[in-house]
Amino acid sequence: MSITIAKSLDLKGLSCPLPIIKTAKAMKELAPGELLEAFATDPGAVPDFKAWSQTTGNALVESSESGGVYRFVLKKKEI
């Protein structure tokens, strides 16, 4: 089984609130159930992505870190 990432965002070097704003914009383009991945370097993005997921209902299916780069995978909510 393979999982398709519909869209990938490079948010490295950006600070609050740009990572969330760009992510919210990109999520609008996705169809329900599709996945978006985002790479960021702002440590503040970790709690922000979690909070954004909780308030908007788009599930945060991954929040990981590797070599100072955070990777988030969000699943667009079903309507």
Binding site: S2, T4, A6, P17, L18, I21, A24, W52, L60
Partner: protein
């Protein structure tokens, strides 16, 4: 799918064990306010900046967001290229001493005749922080309602044509308070 589409090879776990399931996330959802109203009273860089950060973030969170610009808060909505505003000498003097525009904001402390804001903007650029001007454009693009206070406009001599495009029609305190019913409200 777009050109950025990628397919993960079979066996590559895209959902690690620590991840929360969609159900776990939505289950915890608390009671949410779906609107936010900010009363933007201040015209200084260090207060306009957080106002615009919060407004754009609220819009990104799907909230119907309104910023009611009143008193000193109205001046950041003046077009950057507009210099003197007002009809009488007092209003003209005011615009001379308190230049409008989101690229001419002063710091409330450590302004040092503009050296403070210049350094702040330099630091912001270095750290990937959007400037107030950029955030203003993002807010309008995201559909944030930017409402100038009619009374302040009249008193300070600011015309609709002095203010930037893309903002809402001027309104009064009643409209602002009516919008604030049941919303997250901030006074900055």
């Amino acid at each position: 799918m777009s050109a950025t589409s990628r397919v993960y090879a079979a066996g590559t776990p895209v959902v690690p064990p620590i991840a929360q399931s969609a159900e776990a996330v939505t289950e915890k959802k608390p009671e949410l306010a779906d609107r936010m109203v900010i009363f933007a009273w201040s015209g200084e860089l260090d207060k306009v900046w957080p106002t615009l950060i919060l407004a754009t973030t609220a819009a990104a969170m799907g909230k119907d967001t309104t910023v009611f610009f009143t008193f000193w808060g109205l001046f950041p909505l003046v077009k950057n290229e507009v210099r003197i505003t007002g009809d009488n000498w007092m209003q003209k003097m005011l615009s001379l001493m308190n230049r409008g525009g989101d690229e001419h904001l002063k710091l409330s402390k450590m302004n040092f005749v503009g050296a403070g804001p210049a350094m702040m903007n330099h630091l912001a650029k270095e750290h990937g922080v959007a400037s107030p001007h950029e955030l203003m454009e993002i807010a309008i693009e995201m559909g944030v309602h930017m409402v100038p206070c009619q009374m302040t406009m009249d008193m300070m001599g600011l015309k609709r044509s002095d203010l930037i495009d893309g903002i809402d029609e001027p309104a009064g305190a009643t409209k602002a308070l009516a919008d604030a019913q049941g919303a997250i409200t901030l006074f900055i």
